[in-house]
Amino acid sequence: MADTARSAPSPPPRTAEISTLSFALIISVPVLIFLLVVVAYPLAYAFYLSFHEIRFFGGYSATWNGLANYSKVFSDQSFWSSLGRTLRFTVETVILTLAVGLGLALILKHLPAKWRWLRALIILPWAVSPYGAGIFFTYLGRGQTGIGTAVAGWFGSDHTVNLISARFVVEYLAVGAAWNMAPLVAFFLLANMLTTPARLYDLAKIDQMSRLETFWHVTLPPLRFTLFVFSCITTVLAMKTFDYIFTATQGGPGGASAVLTYTLYKISFVNLDLGYGAAMSFFLLAVILGATGLLYLLWGRKEERQ
């Protein structure tokens, strides 16, 4: 046939096929070394600090004091109260973020085509930095400048309504954190919802499910894995957060919002007690890992099996 008259392809050069392992190593080792240096080193150094007493007055000095820093944490009343505030803030933030995210996703899903551009507006709070969110919510909540007083003013009252009260500041901050993080959750949930087959909704209609039943049995189940992943992400972010609380309340009023990160900041950078701060920071790390681990055990394993 005609093809045989064509010139055969010249024999390809023998390329030295590198093995998967060496290719993976060549690519990842430099990055891993960088990460090791800039993540593991500080971690190791913090570990070192946590066994020492660091002084700056009269020249820098580090004195070995064994487990003293760690045992001090246990008897430190401010540690336990800060931990309590961190947990309270985290639980509230996670629940609010997922709930608001789900609500926004449901609204976005039902938008008719000509209103779709609203999606681009709803995402905006996600782009606001935590420190920006802190600034927004401090002015929004304060009695002098806040929305509460403004609303009271409409009704002819001249009371100041302070949303950042010692009693409910943690709840107020959780609302702000949810404001910041919920849009991203909403977008992922929306993407998930759009892949749910429309037939399932037809089936729900045939089965004469109520709206709530449809939501519970049709809308929600495919979202559960995403919800789990975001509950982990939100947990980590809420426990790590510092800049948001720093700009929003500075731990106030009267220490009522001094979560663990804020207390750590004060110990290390205001009191300059670096050894003690380092020791306490390992407790924070343990709490973060413990919380995500617990979430996985209680919830994630179940979702993976399905």
Partner: protein, 364 residues
Amino acid sequence: MARIDLHNIVKTYGSHHAVENLDMTIEDGELLVLLGPSGCGKSTTMNMIAGLTEPTSGKILFDGADVTSHSPHQRNIAMVFQSSLLYPHLSARDNIYMSLKRSGLSKQEINARIAHAAETVDVTRLLDKMPSQLSGGERQRVATAKAIVREPAGFLLDEPLSALDASLRLSLRAELVNLQKRIRTTMIFVTHDQVEAMTMGDRIGVMRKGRLEQIGTPTDIYNRPATLFVAGFVGVPPMNFLKGALEKADGRLWLTNPSLKMEIKGEFANAAPQKEVILGIRPHLMRLTEAGASALPLTVYAIEQLGNEAIVICDGPDGGKIRVVAPAGFTAPVGARLDATFDSAAARLYDPASERVLAVTGKA
């Protein structure tokens, strides 16, 4: 175009044996179908022929030359992957061009070849489309053009039709066979669909659990399945099986079980008696009859009307389903008693322990 030899190929993943001691020859210009259920090692075998996977031991020869350590490109094979995989970000033309990019051909030659390949499988008008704009059948054709443009020594296809709908599969099947005969390339086609295998292959290699159960022409595989697995896997409707014992009496061989006593004639008449055997008989070779001594008592379970014939699915005496082909329009109520007979010379006997066909010493 090449003759491909596999010598004692073994592939293990840890303790899992994906392919065991495989010996096989694919003749130059032949279309060999590798058939088997998922996980039987057929794709692994194809990947080793392609050079995508290195065998744990054994040798692969192309036209007598050892290519075991050569890359796919050095072997000059072409491959169409599952669901006709294409580079999603490249147009059909660029997808085909990628096959020749490393070939060292001149620009002119490349363009001529692309045009020729596109014409061969009739995709010239699709060349500037992106894969996402192509239908399943069009993607398959473009993937084929990408493969043949190299004028490969071997053309390998890994279940390329499995994602397509039935009617498209039917027409593409014929198209591929036609193409293979026209360009006379050695072609290996992997599938789990036995109809596809029967209709396409010059020869079929049936694999199971990493072993080659039987290799032969479709007629051979259909009429003379070497193992119980091949007998049950190939053929629609599937072969019927009856348990029984082989006994010698009056110088003749009898198959007996509680509901049947039948003289074995033909090929297996001289088989050695044994306590347990399995008799296999194709549904097309059975007839529904009046009750008789050597008839099999059956109870109707369901009837499938195919237009040209009817398949009567029955509960057999030993619990298994027995299918009998009846004339078109045959009806009987579910649960009705029927009897069926067949010529024992057309049946095959298998040893349930080894699952292989019984050895016969000589012709009757």
